[in-house]
């Protein structure tokens, strides 16, 4: 899968900017009726099929169903409004993920009074020192959510710093290439590579007992 960088570069400044607020003014449609037919078709055929993946990603970022719901709606709403700058047939999934990630960061900036949702400082600390206190200090709210999913894997993912969790979901679950991940979250490819490695080390530590108990890892000499 290759990344269409044109669509991204055209859109990124809009997507990172909160220009979507509805303000007082005159009423008008986004598209003419002819455009609407074309864009509705693109929306249905190329964007909407990615809704499940986007919801999974949003849920992993937010750890909350309502917040994930809002984030996905917001993402599709923004994508629809900016379909003029989307090139038909280009990498719709990566484009949508980038919009979602930017929306999430913008919302986080607005709601920065809720620091337990994104722990960038913890991630930074881990990247600098290679040590994390995170495995021992899992947020209780996340723990409760994970248990309701009955999912040891969710708990392990939620124990990771946000930046680590993001690359794991994008790479191992959504199967984006390193190049696509670099573009979705605006980091160099080398950083994608090292972040993935650290994240996987943490996950392996966390899930090794589970992997053995569930029979994923066996000693084949037996």
């Amino acid at each position: 899968m290759t990344m269409d960088t044109t669509a991204h570069s055209v859109n990124s400044e809009y997507l990172e900017d909160e220009t979507f607020e509805i303000t007082d003014g005159k009423e008008q449609s986004i598209y003419t009726s002819e455009e609407k037919i074309i864009y509705d078709k693109i929306f249905e055929e190329e964007l909407l099929p990615h809704i499940k993946s986007l919801y999974h990603f949003a849920y992993r970022l937010c750890n909350d169903e309502d917040d994930a719901n809002d984030l996905v709606q917001d993402t599709f709403f923004k994508a629809y409004r900016f379909l003029r700058s989307y090139e038909k047939g280009s990498n719709a999934k990566a484009w949508l993920f980038r919009i979602l990630k930017n929306s999430f960061i913008n919302n986080y900036r607005k709601n920065s009074k809720e620091p337990n949702k994104v722990d960038y400082e913890e991630a930074e600390q881990f990247l600098n020192t290679g040590k994390s206190s995170h495995l021992n200090t899992i947020d209780m709210r996340e723990k409760v959510y994970s248990n309701t999913l009955g999912d040891e894997v969710s708990m392990a993912l939620n124990s990771l710093p946000m930046d680590f969790k993001t690359v794991i979901v994008l790479c191992d679950i959504e199967e984006f290439s390193y190049e696509e991940i670099a573009q979705i979250i605006d980091i160099p490819i080398g950083t994608v590579r090292s972040r993935l490695h650290r994240a996987r080390q943490l996950l392996k530590e966390y899930l090794m007992d589970y992997a053995i108990s569930m029979g994923y890892i066996k000693n084949e000499k037996d």
Binding site: V153, S177, R200, M208, I217
Partner: protein, 104 residues
Amino acid sequence: MEEKDLKQMYSKIGVYREDSPYSQEECEIIIKQLEELLDGELSEDEQSNILKRIESCEYCLEQYKIEKSFRQILKDGVLNFTNNVIINNIKQTIAKIRNQTFLF
């Protein structure tokens, strides 16, 4: 080998095997390459080098299987979690939003 012994063997420092013929540093490099192999990020030459290594070294083969297992664990864990009601609600809301007239 008993499950508890297997857990004990892997418990100390992630996946590094104390009885490995390689140093922990060497193993780290191999693991990174195995990750990139599974991610489809290696060139053909790199792929063929690492595949030769997997074939000739039982520890590398074991690491490869562990890496593969963890990919599977993540995928299985996520597949268990799909709420179609929520997805349909989102679709309906998006459909409504798209048909609205916007104020600028």
